[in-house]
Symmetry: C2
Subunit: 293 residues, 2 copies
DNA sequence: GTTCCGCATGAATCGATAG
DNA sequence: ACTATCGATTCATGCGGAA
């Protein structure tokens, strides 16, 4: 049995990050509060001040990330006065001056975009997943996110997407073990930089801003078991919970006590997981929501 | 019969645009040569000089566009030295200083992206479609690009129930006068800012940078019959040909003689089209390739 | 056990109203 | 004039109860 740790920290990440060691994190995956949102925690950062607010944090993130590590930043600019605001693209430019390499930009296509109708724009159905690195060579495990292809896979996936399927069962792999044999010899393809996922609107405990599949995909892609994952804007703890379930150590920082308590209640400080064995097979269980359409 | 004109111009658009009148174009749709590509035509613009090269052109485009018009710029930054280059986002910032409003950014999800494999990145399956405007109020015909909803796709699990169909049908039958509008409103949904299109359509020529559906969608959205469409980087003439087929006047500028001749051979200077009659119904015919999946 | 249907719920955006 | 709040608009998703 392998033991992984989940360290939850209550506080402002701009300060709390300073307690973390240099070059200690393999993957940073986070979704910071968007401009004008979460006014009760970070004071509702104004769009014009967003870059200035974020830079000290990204500076610390740069310090704690391993040279081989990756920083995935989930963000989207809002509309201000009829225009897309420029704080996101300005942030990219500013972070590059800090030393970050803007390696890639993934697109999260939100299949269930927020409804609404306006005279001069359509619904916003995508968000950015900016990939930053410290070095041009970084760790990446592409095989871990390969997707099945072909007619057989389509039929298989369609069945998996039935509303009556047992999702959590396949997640852990307990009920999935027997079916895994079916994937042997099946054709798989590397994914693209466009991810198709729906947001979770179901009102479980607290609504997370992104579905489990999102951090899971990047954790698969950029880390192995035993690695360290950091989410400086933990929220209700989606990233940390998923990382722990996948056998990765995790650190989550959250400024709001109620969110911190929420995460604490869900995530045990230590988790014991069976040693990885069928690594490739188990890791390549079908991701219906990430599958290219 | 309505007559629409296609004006093809051989030359550098930076110069040729000066011959066009102020505030005369309803829609500019173009895909400029990407950095380092088409080295023999525009001298192979270096990524670091891309903004500087494009700004005089965008300045002229600003001049010729009607205040109610729209400029759609299809562009994607290339990878340089392991990083996404910043010339596109720098261009956005620079164009705003020229007076352009960065209204929206559409995503073109290329369903059949080029195959390939790299050690540290996946296939690039999307491009930006940057929308710029001169004013916050611009012409937009959202109904022209509505997509069917309900059971349009096999992938969709939730099908419109039989009772729902009957209910809708009866509702349609009970109405009078605006019957058609009601029916359309019930069966169709407004699209999002993510477009799903394949890169090539089978029955089209292979030299085009984008499929017909791409300019067609934006021409539908931002223009009406008889309007003027401009493509300052015409290439083989996809935009002009599509515009003409849709009953819009078009201007195409191309610097390379072989491309110019190619477009000239395909596109007649004048086209006669039947006058629009069943406007609503004809405009809302389903576009399979644009459908969300 | 299925399949089907009703319903609540979102990192949204605009325009009008109020301070 | 400029900012804060609020109602109206709209649709994919999954849960729970019903057939």
């Amino acid at each position: 049995m392998t033991t992984v740790e989940a360290r939850l920290i209550l506080g402002d990440c701009a300060k709390e990050l300073k307690h973390l060691a240099d070059d200690s994190i393999d993957l940073i995956f986070t979704s910071p509060p968007y401009a004008d949102s979460r006014a009760n925690s970070y004071g509702g950062i104004k769009p014009d001040q967003y870059v200035e607010w974020f830079l000290p944090i990204s500076q610390e993130l740069y310090r704690v990330l391993k040279p081989s590590g990756t920083f995935i930043l989930n963000i989207k600019e809002k509309v201000v006065n009829g225009e897309r605001h420029t704080y996101v693209i300005e942030l990219i430019l500013a972070m590059r001056k800090q030393g970050w390499l803007w390696t890639e930009e993934f697109i999260w296509h939100k299949k269930n975009a927020y409804p609404g109708k306006w005279p001069n724009r359509f619904r916003d159905a995508w968000e950015r997943l900016l990939q930053f690195n410290k070095a041009r060579k970084f760790r990446m495990f592409q095989e871990a996110v390969m997707v099945p292809m072909g007619d057989w896979a389509e039929r298989r996936l369609r069945r998996l997407s039935q509303t009556d399927r047992i999702r959590d069962n396949s997640r852990v792999g307990s009920g999935f073990g027997k079916r895994v044999a079916n994937w042997i010899g099946r054709q798989k393809a590397y994914p693209t930089n466009v991810l198709h996922l729906a947001t979770e609107t179901k009102n479980r405990n607290h609504s997370a801003v992104f579905p489990d599949d999102l951090p899971e995909w990047f954790i698969r892609l950029f880390t192995q078991e035993g690695d360290w994952v950091l989410d400086p804007f933990m929220g209700s703890g989606t990233t940390v919970r998923v990382a722990q379930r996948m056998g990765r150590n995790a650190i989550g920082i959250e400024i709001l006590p109620e969110y911190y308590q929420l995460a604490k209640a869900i995530i045990p400080p230590l988790a014991h997981l069976p040693a990885r064995q069928l690594s490739l097979l188990e890791e390549t269980e079908p991701y219906e929501s990430v599958e290219p359409e």
